[in-house]
């Protein structure tokens, strides 16, 4: 009778064991997942910190070569230094023959310039930027933008140039009608410029007209970035970080800027 009961109790015990095993598995799984998330977030936080250190070290090395470095905390002098750097950079751009981009975060203007002449002006409605920019020694950014930067590559929601291909008619009977361009088509405007000095400058259209498309575009890029970021932290090294500025201006100005500037255009930024 007893042995029969023990045999009958066995499946219950096995089930309890299974449940316990399942719970252990879950605890281990969630602990590991939590540890990975924390590790990734710590690395994410450390990336800009490491960048600040690298920028500061580079600045100290170059300054030591030139005979020492003076740290300045007076905002008045810093503003003058920023203005001086900005004007120097604009003058360097003015020596060029092509269209150059000038971003002035002080007066909230984005302008296009050719040989020092302002040919196009756009008012900035909103600016977002990495916290790094405000937390690094201001002189680092001032020095950085005292010379024009080159655009390395660009990502945009619309093409730079659109050509229409037309086949020449064989005779007057085949002559095609005059094509009237469709100016009513409005594409979402988002332009991301990767500058050669490891900096990202982004233009986003103002308003909510294309909010959905723009967010999708941004999310796709963020996803790619995060995937690469996660790949790089598997080597247990703090990944590289690129400081960025995102500027909101009207969509038509973004289109004008992208279509006007050459592929490797010069850019100056007044921080």
């Amino acid at each position: 009778m007893n042995s029969q009961k023990t045999e009958q109790e066995k499946p219950g015990k096995t089930r309890k064991k299974n449940v316990r095993g399942w719970i252990y598995f879950k605890v281990v799984f969630f602990t590991l997942a939590f540890a990975m998330v924390v590790y990734s977030l710590v690395m994410s936080y450390l990336a800009p910190v490491k960048k600040i250190e690298a920028l500061t070290k580079a600045m100290l090395i170059s300054e030591n070569d030139q005979g020492g470095f003076t740290s300045i905390s007076d905002t008045g002098i810093l503003n003058l230094l920023k203005e001086e750097a900005y004007l120097k950079s604009r003058l360097a751009m003015a020596a060029q023959d092509s269209v150059c981009l000038n971003v002035n975060l002080h007066s909230n203007l984005v302008t296009l310039e050719i040989q020092g002449i302002t040919v196009h002006v756009s008012k900035i409605s909103k600016v977002r930027k990495s916290r790094l920019i405000d937390n690094v020694d201001p002189q680092i950014m001032i020095r950085r933008f005292s010379v024009p930067q080159n655009i390395d590559s660009v990502e945009a929601t619309f093409p730079k140039l659109v050509f229409t291909h037309k086949e020449a008619p064989a005779d007057t009977n085949q002559q095609s009608q005059l094509v009237i361009p469709d100016t009513a088509t409005i594409e979402p405007a988002y332009l991301k410029m990767f500058l050669n000095d490891d900096f990202i400058l982004t233009f986003r259209e103002t308003g909510d007209l294309h909010k959905k498309e723009l967010n999708k575009f941004v999310r796709e890029r963020q996803w790619d970035y995060s995937v690469n970021f996660l790949k790089s932290i598997t080597e247990f090294k703090v990944p590289d970080y690129t400081p960025w500025i995102e500027i909101e201006i009207p969509a038509r100005d973004i289109r004008t800027i992208y279509r006007s500037i050459p592929y490797k255009a010069l850019v100056t930024v007044r921080i």
Binding site: R15, I23, S40, P48, S73, I117, P169, T183, T256
Partner: protein, 267 residues
Amino acid sequence: MANKLIMDESEISSQEESSNTDSTAGYGVNKPTTKNNSSGAGRILWILTQWVGFFAFSIMFVFAFMLYLIPFAQNIKPISLFSGSQTVLLHNSIANDQVSTNDLLKNIEGLRKNLVSKTPKNAYLIINTSENKFQLWKGDTQIRKGLCSTGSYTILKKSDADKQWVFKTPRGVFKIKRKTQSPVWVKPDWAFIEEGLPVPSPRDPSRYDDATLGDYSLSLGDGYMIHGTLYKRFLGMPVTHGCVRMGDEDLEVVFNNMAISGKVFIY
């Protein structure tokens, strides 16, 4: 909480099972009851719900993590954690007055003057090919602005000749090379090819057209001109073969103000 529930469920079902076994032991038959069946299905449903919930949560978390948490963590105010080079900066701090404010101001003034000196003294023209607009300036005064037409970005291809023409307005800085009243257009080859006409000899009378360019033209070189148009309804649109077309009144003002070698900025 979910774990606890699962455990409770299994405990209950195992208890139920053992009680069933006890009650049926006397008859020697181990017959499952309807209650047992329904609790088994409920358990499967519960486990399924848990798995679905777990996967849904995981997917949502991965998305939130990749798209929002990583950028968020990167944008938390950074503090120096590494070798302490920032500390060096602070220790190196020297009194601000070592940087002379006066010198800076003088330097800035000099740079500004240098930049202002780049502005042409004579009238100059700015043409926006993206929006098909123009502005006429003299110093820092805007004389006139309005609509124009620029290159259509069309590529005309002649299949049998393996030749093509790109109709776009060049960008950059140009100078007025020549000013002409009542200009006559000497039609290039593409003007005939585009209409499906045979290309005449270079001095053929059919090449000369005194109606299309309007009252004035200003040559920019390389065959590019600023001129009038018969197609005023297309002003503000990119429809030309590379030249800049203007309305009659605008063209007259531009013609009268722009000197030979006056600068034209096209962007």
